[in-house]
């Protein structure tokens, strides 16, 4: 049976293979995903982000188990950093989710970020679609946890869960722009530790600064390791989902997500085509030396390369 039919028949191996194909930019994989695209859109996508060691994987494990009790099909995409030097990666999120491995209603896929900034790997968005088509009701996307540049996750998810822990910094961290603004639901994990309530209070204060929020993100204290507070947290996620659906924001958000996806794909395509075009290592090295010697400036170099690229495109 071909891979398209197998995925529609909920075949794990076929879904796993298609994710690899698309991740590796295999044109055949892309064609299959195009054909199947109309079958996607049914899964609810939850992004989980937060600093390394905050407990994202452990929390994902516990949330997944709760959803399994409700007989939901769950998929988890766990992204870990790729070495910028070797291209290798150690993907270790499964360690925290070992007993989910053999649950037939759970599909866990680890992915390397493969050099994509923002903590979301290029293949992640495609993997979300494939697991959606495969039949997941809920998909968790767990990010690298690099800290303050993970805004990308919002563009791939319906609800973004921000996992914080006590003791990471003072309250000025909480008012910095960026990550703190993307959470739809906040969890303060390791809440059995000193300072957890203070951390929660600081997040609350940051959130209450903006009085005009239509959706005020809840801040829940959890101890993922001991499975404490996870049921409340899942309810908060479901409340956000209900809010999105009832307010009509769900559709709006998905349209916005689709738009930013188009922009991302165009950017990537132009980047690849332009770099392929001007990727002459010797020339780039020579120009870089001149920049350091201050005989040229980087702005003019980029201008020249870009114009040469445009000219080559027009010549075609």
């Amino acid at each position: 049976m071909d891979i398209e039919k197998r995925i529609l028949n909920h075949d794990k191996r076929a879904a796993a293979r298609l994710i690899s194909m698309v991740e590796n930019k295999d044109p055949e994989g892309l064609r299959i995903l195009q054909n199947l695209y109309s079958h996607s859109g049914n899964a609810y996508v939850i992004g989980i982000t937060g600093p390394p060691g905050a407990g994202k994987s452990t929390l994902t494990d516990k949330l997944t188990k709760l959803l399994r009790k409700q007989d939901k099909q769950v998929a988890v995409i766990a992204v870990d950093p790729t070495s910028p030097f070797t291209g290798g990666a150690i993907l270790g999120d499964r360690v925290r989710m070992n007993d989910l491995s053999v649950d037939p209603g759970v599909f866990i896929r680890s992915m390397g970020a493969r050099g994509h900034l923002g903590g979301i790997s290029e293949g992640t968005a495609a993997a979300v679609k494939i697991l959606d088509i495969y039949g997941a009701d809920f998909i968790f996307v767990e990010t690298v946890g690099v800290g303050q540049s993970e805004i990308d996750i919002v563009k791939n998810c319906d609800t973004t869960l921000m996992v914080m822990v006590p003791g990471l910094g003072d309250d000025i961290q909480a008012i910095k722009a960026g990550v703190m603004e993307i959470g739809d639901v906040f969890a303060v994990n390791k809440a059995d530790r000193d300072g957890a309530k203070r951390t929660a209070r600081e997040i609350d204060m940051m959130l209450d600064f903006n009085k005009e929020l239509e959706w005020r993100p809840p801040v829940d204290l959890v101890v993922a390791y001991e499975n404490k507070g996870v049921d409340v947290l899942l309810n908060s996620i479901m409340d956000h989902r209900e809010y999105l659906l009832e307010s009509g924001k769900f559709h709006e958000k998905r349209v916005a997500n689709a738009k930013s996806e188009i922009v991302e794909m165009i950017k990537e395509r132009i980047e690849r085509s332009m770099l392929d075009n001007s990727r002459n290592e010797e020339k780039l090295d020579a120009l870089s030396k001149q920049i350091v010697e201050r005989t040229v400036d980087p702005f003019s170099v980029v201008e020249q390369l870009f114009e040469a690229y445009i000219a080559s495109v027009e010549a075609k």
Binding site: K12, R13, A16, T86, G87, G88, L91, N98, I108, S110
Partner: protein
């Protein structure tokens, strides 16, 4: 872009010694591979299920408990039953020489015993995964 080789590094059985597995995981990462590390005390069922979901090219198991004659062939057999016999299965750890021929007959393609330089394992994986 060159496709990175994906390897599942697993510790089947009940011994708690994961230093070797971690050293291998790190060496494979430095060789440009994507290593899915699953941690200690994995059942064959967990290993096979993870290997399929992760669509790996290779399953590398480290075992020091003495249960290799039972656990390693079981993983190879279960992968075959799932139609995933194209995944390269290798093992490492404290495995007596006299056990190796029978393990190889049962689908464990290579066994790396203590003292094997990591480069030997890297080269073996690179030249023996499918494609």
């Amino acid at each position: 872009m060159e496709r990175p080789i994906r390897v599942l590094v697993a510790k089947p059985g009940l011994d708690g010694h994961d230093r070797g597995a971690k050293v291998i995981a790190r060496a494979l990462r430095d060789a440009g591979m994507e290593v899915i590390y699953t941690g200690l005390r994995q059942t064959p069922e967990q290993i096979v299920s993870a290997a399929i979901q992760e669509d790996v090219d290779c399953v590398a198991m480290s075992i020091l408990s003495g249960a290799h004659n039972t656990l390693l062939p079981k993983v190879a057999a279960m992968l075959k039953a799932e139609g995933a016999e194209d995944i390269l299965v290798i093992g490492g750890g404290v495995i007596p020489q006299e056990d190796i021929p029978s393990l190889k007959e049962q689908g464990i393609k290579e066994i790396f015993t203590p003292g094997t330089p990591t480069q030997v394992t890297i080269d073996y994986i690179k030249s023996n995964v499918a494609n």
